[in-house]
């Protein structure tokens, strides 16, 4: 039921002229994708600096909260650019993307990374005063930072993999893969 609804929504987006125009434009789609990829340097780059501090691997003489607070804003600017450009990329090719196992995994990882970031921030704010100046933060903080790097790496990896057609619905796949990709109409991407 959910897969049918998602596919209907994707078909509705696909029927809009702007979606077609982005998809068929010679340069616009490429520029949006380039923006999406390059904003990785802003968002993930800032995140790397924060997480490396939380792991005790960089800026160990600087209070952890200083690094987290100062880099939060540019990181969120990068995230906003990624979110907008990412939506436009989805909007340009909605039907195939909706039935992509990589896209679905990416969305799940995004949600998990968001939850981890929320919990991490809460944990940090509650306890930072006791370890803020420690070169190596407590284990629970390091685990959170490591998890953050792993989850966001997963988001990047699955995001890049969307372009590959290894597990597209039109291919012969194990039933499990059809289920995971939410394949409703195997030929929908060609219609």
């Amino acid at each position: 039921m959910l897969n049918e609804t998602l596919l209907s929504l994707a078909r509705w987006l696909d029927s809009q002229s702007w979606s077609t125009q982005i998809h068929e434009s010679i340069y616009l789609y490429s520029w949006i994708e380039t923006t999406h990829v390059l904003s990785l340097m802003i968002f993930l780059g800032m995140l790397c600096v924060i997480d490396l501090r939380m792991l005790g691997w960089a800026f160990d003489k600087v209070p952890a909260s200083t690094i987290a607070n100062r880099l939060d804003k540019p990181m969120m600017i990068g995230f906003a650019i990624m979110l907008i450009s990412g939506f436009l990329l989805y909007y340009a090719i909605p039907v195939r993307t909706t039935q992509s196992i990589w896209f679905r995994t990416k969305v799940i990882l995004l949600i998990l990374a968001g939850i981890n970031a929320f919990l991490f921030r809460a944990k940090m704010q509650a306890s930072a005063s006791s370890w803020d100046l420690d070169p190596i933060p407590p284990k629970r903080i390091r685990v959170g930072a490591g998890l953050s790097l792993l989850l966001w790496s997963g988001v990047v990896i699955t995001g890049r993999a969307i372009a590959y057609d290894w597990f597209d619905c039109r291919r012969e796949l194990p039933y499990m893969m059809y289920w995971a990709a939410g394949c409703v109409d195997e030929m929908a991407a060609f219609q």
């Binding site: 340097m41 790397c48 600096v49 960089a58 880099l71 540019p74 790496s153 990047v156 590959y164």
Partner: protein, 158 residues
């Protein structure tokens, strides 16, 4: 100097055998390339935005540059190693690709700029340098690495 023999050698190397035989390997290595880019780009931005007095203004710029430089090297190494592997899969195609040539020129400029100019210049006390020197170094650095990343992405479109 014609680099054709170099590309031809890469095209018939063991790396090329692996990258051509296992399509999935190329994709996985490409993902590491992206992660290296994010790490390297982040370090460039944090360091250069500090030099421009935009980020981490309350921290000494010497400390920010020192901390970011080490991880910049890690990101650059990941990018170069993964980049060589990726190039081996399509070496002859890349030889004729003008965007690849542009990226390599920008990358060479970037490496020379970082290790021959930026690092030695910023090794001492930054207050002894003209503020405009710091700003010019930062803007040049951002422009060079943006060009490397953008031309790299554009290889796939050209």
């Amino acid at each position: 100097m014609d680099l054709y023999p170099l590309f031809e050698w890469l095209d018939t190397s063991l790396l090329a055998d692996i990258s051509k035989a296992y399509g999935g390997t190329f994709a996985v290595i490409q993902m590491f390339h992206l992660m290296g880019m994010a790490l390297m780009g982040g370090m460039v931005l944090v360091g250069d935005l500090r030099l421009l007095n935009i980020l981490l203004k309350d921290l000494p710029s010497e400390m920010v540059i020192e901390n970011t430089h080490k991880w910049f090297g890690v990101g650059l190494t990941i990018m170069i190693m993964s980049g060589i592997f990726m190039s081996s899969a399509v070496a002859m195609k890349l030889y004729y690709n003008s965007m690849f040539a542009a990226k390599m020129a920008a990358l060479a400029t970037g490496i020379v700029f970082v290790y021959a100019i930026r690092k030695p210049l910023l090794a001492g006390d930054h207050t002894e340098l003209n503020p405009w020197t710091l700003r010019i170094v930062a803007v040049t650095s951002i422009m060079i690495w943006f060009t490397v990343a953008a031309s790299g992405r554009w290889i796939g479109f050209s």
